[in-house]
Assembly symmetry: C2
Homo-oligomer: 244 residues x 2
């Protein structure tokens, strides 16, 4: 579609059907009329691993609802140092709590499908449906809280505490999505985890080994990781226990 002409990533958008239904579940409490109007302007975008959905500095024209796959949000320093500020998974929204320009790079960790619609359409809908604006603010506050949690992690936690917290966050997400929270699939590499936790890949790898040796976790194929002792992980994450 021509709406896509401005983007250089070559993402081919098409009108999105099933994603409208998914978004309904995200904003279930909102007025149907508003959603129907939103669905009318929604398109599907698909990305393969490593492709960029939005770039730092791009005008923030679109919002995205991740319908399949996962992606990382990161910022870069001039010399290449990277800090991942978040991971997004199925059901998450991107571009809601943003100003006129995106401030992050968003890259697919695996083949990705997202539902895209214009922020201007959303903004207009907020005028008519105040509840939509409230939901938006609520989400921004949630993100802000998560960011502050991450500040505590990056500023004051040891490598073991950071990784334990990371695993428990993934578990919480899995439980929220109806999973068992026991065996998780890591769609990101060690380097991604390191850049999220403010560590190096080697340090992450060593913590993995330590946790495995202690019987806290077990690794499977394709990034599968099993939490054998979630309560012990919670002890690590809260810093209540010495991290030997």
């Amino acid at each position: 579609m021509s709406a896509c002409a401005g983007r250089q990533t070559g993402v081919p958008p098409t009108v999105c059907d099933q994603c409208a239904a998914r978004r309904l579940s995200v904003c279930a409490s909102l007025a149907d009329e508003g959603l129907a109007r939103l669905a009318a302007v929604a398109e599907t975008v698909t990305l393969s691993t490593g492709q960029t959905l939005v770039s730092d500095g791009d005008p923030a024209r679109y919002m995205f609802n991740i319908t399949r796959g996962s992606l990382r949000l990161h910022r870069l320093l001039g010399d290449g140092r990277r800090q991942i500020v978040g991971f997004l998974f199925q059901g998450d929204l991107l571009g809601l709590a943003t100003r006129a320009f995106y401030q992050v790079e968003a890259e697919a960790l695996e083949p990705l499908t997202a539902c895209r619609f214009r922020r201007s359409a959303y903004d207009q809908l907020c005028e008519s449906f105040p509840a939509l604006g409230k939901a938006l603010l609520e989400r921004a506050c949630h993100d802000l809280q998560a960011a502050q949690d991450q500040m505590v992690l990056l500023g004051r936690m040891t490598s073991g505490e950071r990784f334990a917290r990371f695993l428990l966050d993934l578990q919480a997400r899995d439980l929220r999505n109806g999973g068992t929270g026991v065996t998780l699939r890591l769609s990101m590499t060690r380097a991604d985890i390191a850049d999220f936790l403010g560590l190096t890949t080697e340090t992450v790898s060593r913590v993995v080994t330590r946790f495995r040796t202690l019987g806290l976790i077990a690794l499977g194929a394709k990034g599968q990781i099993t939490l054998l002792q979630p309560s012990a992980l919670a002890d690590y994450a809260s810093g209540d226990r010495a991290c030997s």
Copy 2:
């Protein structure tokens, strides 16, 4: 006033006159009628150094506009480790982008005056004046961006880079408030700076000494600090220069 009965910090609120005018300047673009209504329910609170304005876990009933002084927002880990997630100064707002409960401790760095009003009143006003809700969201997005900047700092920057960025942020604020951006007053201690930058007081002190030796800054009385070479500080902060 009886509205204050629920708080245990013993802050004596009184009806606020001059703060209504100050808030007008904060939200100058908004409908006068809404502001007038808001001013009608505003109260002034005063705190002395070290006193707590809001506590982690308190129900977020109030919003505050800082009319004089400064405060720190921090979180604590179980064993006493502390991460300051932000400093607030004259003109800043507290409690806007928050959910049902405060997630931080807010403590005065110096004698503080703030204008307080109920969030419920603000929420109601947002219904009538959509522009107010938009300003609120805009601010939340701004805070989120600042939080992501801080994540990069905490996760990937050296002590010198962190302190340089800290100084430049203070300078930017001073410039925004009409100052010259040359000589700043630090209302926080080295320990506060350390807990904000994810360092220790000793490390902060060493960086200060290093910057002083290099002729980048000069210290005066009462926490005065002069930026002698802002451009060199900018080099440090961006990580473009080796931080020897």
